[in-house]
Symmetry: C2
Subunit: 458 residues, 2 copies
């Protein structure tokens, strides 16, 4: 190992206390992008990042306003023209913390317990952002950045990044780079460094049904008026067939089939059915017939009910026949499905199946294209080597069930591939109460990123 | 018309201002029985009734505590042994007012608009209670009650009267009477005085499903873990077949078939399908094949979803695969169905149909037996005459879709029939925002009750 690399790794290890202090500060800002009440906190989080970039001596630091939440940018191009430029992506917004009563410590008061740090955003992805900042800082403080770096932090990832694509399109010069580092995917276990090469897309909708013009007494009208909550249930029930396949018309037409070779490769991942059973805590697994859990999650589309609301949901009983019913429905897409086509399919399904006893509307809430990357690029190769040297084992390559739309956008608009990794673990409770970050893995992640920048610059 | 009757009617008409003042006071007390926060208001409503009974010179006035909300009792037996005793039933509790934002004036600030009084409980049934009190007062102030009267006011009707049956069983001597007057059913229109001779029963449940041990990220698990909200929808969808019949095993075994004679009679009611379409505001009617709307609501059982809750229901999107899903389901029963048997049928249905990917529980929330009354009794005959003299038309006889469990309980425990009427209208928004009372009909109702007591005493 070179002395410079050694010095940077030492710097990171000697500054863990300060690293945790900053991470706690960052988590304490409740930057919930979906909540209009949080606009001030979103702004605070953006300004907090600016102060960190300033501390690193970054240049051209800017808070770019968008129609909703701002984008933070900063760059350090001191490595010179001969060295590659790495664009580092992060999102500083977080999911809502509800249901609050299930948190064992307050969501926005980061709390250390054993070797874990609990708090909303600890793993997704404020911890990952801090890891990249600390890796860059360790290299700068002990010498010089081996590559040029540009940081782009958005505040809208958890609401589907409505303004990011336009921003990238309008700032192609500013964002020009050789590769993108995206640490927003996770690891399969604390000893299994992981590179993600494919992501699912997303089409997220709210469906609203209206029946009677007002809530009715279920005794006086029950039996003669179609209950919108029941109709909603019937429509949702009809969206899958008995084999677990989705019934929207034409839904599977664009789905790229899994080759036998890729199925063979995916079967070598440690994420077998037992893994999904254990980490989900579900009584039993379930899904499309003919596929394993890892295939269902990574390489097959899925349709989930994310929320249901109708009528009286308080304590006790109220004999109401509700006037309206609402469902949030999201569909995860695989190559080569398109969110716009999925919306058309959903509309066709409802047109064909919604009874005339209700009226309905569909509100698209967010969408993302699916993506798949070439595993042979320089960035992925450097990342693979960095992870292997840090953990002492070769990383695994996986398809990820989640959606990171920016990957597809950078591929399309900047012409660059993304090296996707991250140091979150499957039991981090992403998007759920008691989100946490496993600190030993997080520290290794900083080491790995120091190595990654070094290897990309060689 | 006798001078005494005339004097009582005059007294009522000359005191309308005071009547409205007292009705507004009563509505202002938010006596919501299902809400544990409202216990103090429930108590206030009970004490308010006591003060009214005291003003009338009632005797033996008592607030009987129960396990939850108290029962108010008072009697005036001055008519003597030769005269019949009428037990007057009422409930002083009301439904919750949610959704509050849909009220045009605050639910518990009674507001006069044209000839209507708006407020929660105005029609169901604080207005009806005031009508009985004012009818009795008018007779007392202008002479003497022509019959003995006993008042029983419960505070738990809107939560299924969990303590009323025990109270009646334990106080059969106190409540002994010749007939029950129950003004908790309504009229079909302002010119259609109505007597209800049959009521549906009720079996109300909360169904709770649990899947994964916590909320999951719908990208990371979607497709491999059965979504409890979707399972709930599938289970609810399966509770009806394509002809609109309920599929719980054995559900129709105890349903008393409608005779051709009764169908003929029900077809003469003004409540035709157009009535249900207009008053519900639904785009189209729907229900069990082979029956009209009035038959579906009055003489056939029905199953409604009263509430649905799962996952994220706030503004925007959250990509969560929820850990749990909840539905409130109520079933309206007709003779000779039994709520206990219905619970067993629901359990059998879930045992047979719930997949092993979820666990489930059923919480019974309230129940009521269906009832059907003999239309030839003295009380019903006197009521029929009183309504006819007041409105100038013969009343119609109907089966009511709602549930008034006390009717079946009095039949069973006190051996008396109930004369069921009421002066609420179909567009009163019972159990919904903007509940109101039509005052011209309400005043006629007081007149009719004065006549009813007079005729029963003749």
């Amino acid at each position: 190992m070179s002395d410079r690399l050694e010095a940077a790794l030492d710097f990171a290890r000697n500054n863990q206390e300060q690293t945790i202090k900053e991470l706690k500060e960052f988590i304490s800002i409740p930057s919930i992008s979906t909540d209009p009440q949080s606009d001030g906190d979103i702004r605070r989080a953006a300004e907090w990042l600016v102060s960190k970039l300033e501390n690193l001596g970054m240049q051209n630091i800017t808070i770019f306003p968008t129609e909703r939440h701002p984008i933070v940018y900063g760059e350090l191009l001191a490595a010179g023209n001969q060295k590659p430029t790495v664009l580092i992506y992060g999102h500083y917004d977080v999911q809502p913390a509800e249901p609050l009563e299930l948190w064992q410590s307050p969501a926005f008061e980061p709390t250390m317990k054993d070797d874990k740090l609990f708090g909303r955003g600890a793993s997704d992805m404020k911890g990952q952002i801090i890891a990249t900042l600390k890796a860059v800082e360790s290299l700068i403080r002990t010498g010089k950045m081996p590559v040029n770096v540009k940081f782009i932090f958005e505040g809208e990832e958890e609401i589907g990044s409505p303004n990011l694509e336009d921003f990238i399109e309008n700032n192609q010069q500013l964002l020009a780079c050789d590769l993108n580092l995206n640490p927003d995917s996770g690891m399969l276990g604390p000893d299994i460094p992981t590179i993600t090469y494919s992501l699912r897309g997303l089409a997220y909708f709210e469906i609203r049904l209206s029946g009677p013009s007002r809530d009715l007494h279920s005794g006086l009208y029950g039996g003669a008026v179609h209950n919108p909550a029941r109709v909603l249930c019937e429509l949702i029930a009809g969206m899958h067939d008995k084999s677990g396949r989705i019934t929207l018309p034409g839904f599977y037409d664009a789905v790229r089939p899994l080759s036998e070779e890729e199925r063979e490769e995916l079967s070598r991942l440690p994420e077998n059915d037992g893994f999904y059973l254990d980490t989900s805590g579900a009584p039993a697994l379930y899904g499309e017939e003919g596929f394993t859990a890892v295939e269902r999650v990574g390489a097959r589309p899925s349709l989930d009910v994310n929320g249901l609301l109708s009528g009286f949901t308080g304590e006790g009983s109220k004999t109401v026949l509700p006037a309206t019913a609402m469902a949030k429905i999201s569909i995860r897409l695989v190559p080569d499905q398109d969110p716009g086509e999925i919306e058309n399919q959903l509309m066709s399904y409802l047109e064909a199946n919604a009874p005339r006893t209700v009226s309905w509307e569909v509100i698209p809430l967010s969408s993302a294209l699916p993506s798949i990357s070439d595993r042979k690029t320089k960035g992925v190769a450097a990342l693979s080597k960095a992870l292997e040297e840090t953990w002492g084992v070769r990383p695994v390559f996986k398809r990820m069930g989640g959606s990171i739309p920016v990957v597809a956008q950078m591929q399309k608009l900047l012409g660059v591939e993304s090296a996707l990794t991250g140091f979150g673990l499957p039991d981090d409770n992403l998007h759920a109460p008691n989100e946490k970050l496993h600190l030993p893995t997080f520290y290794k992640g900083i080491d790995a990123l120091i190595r990654f920048f070094t290897f990309v610059g060689e």
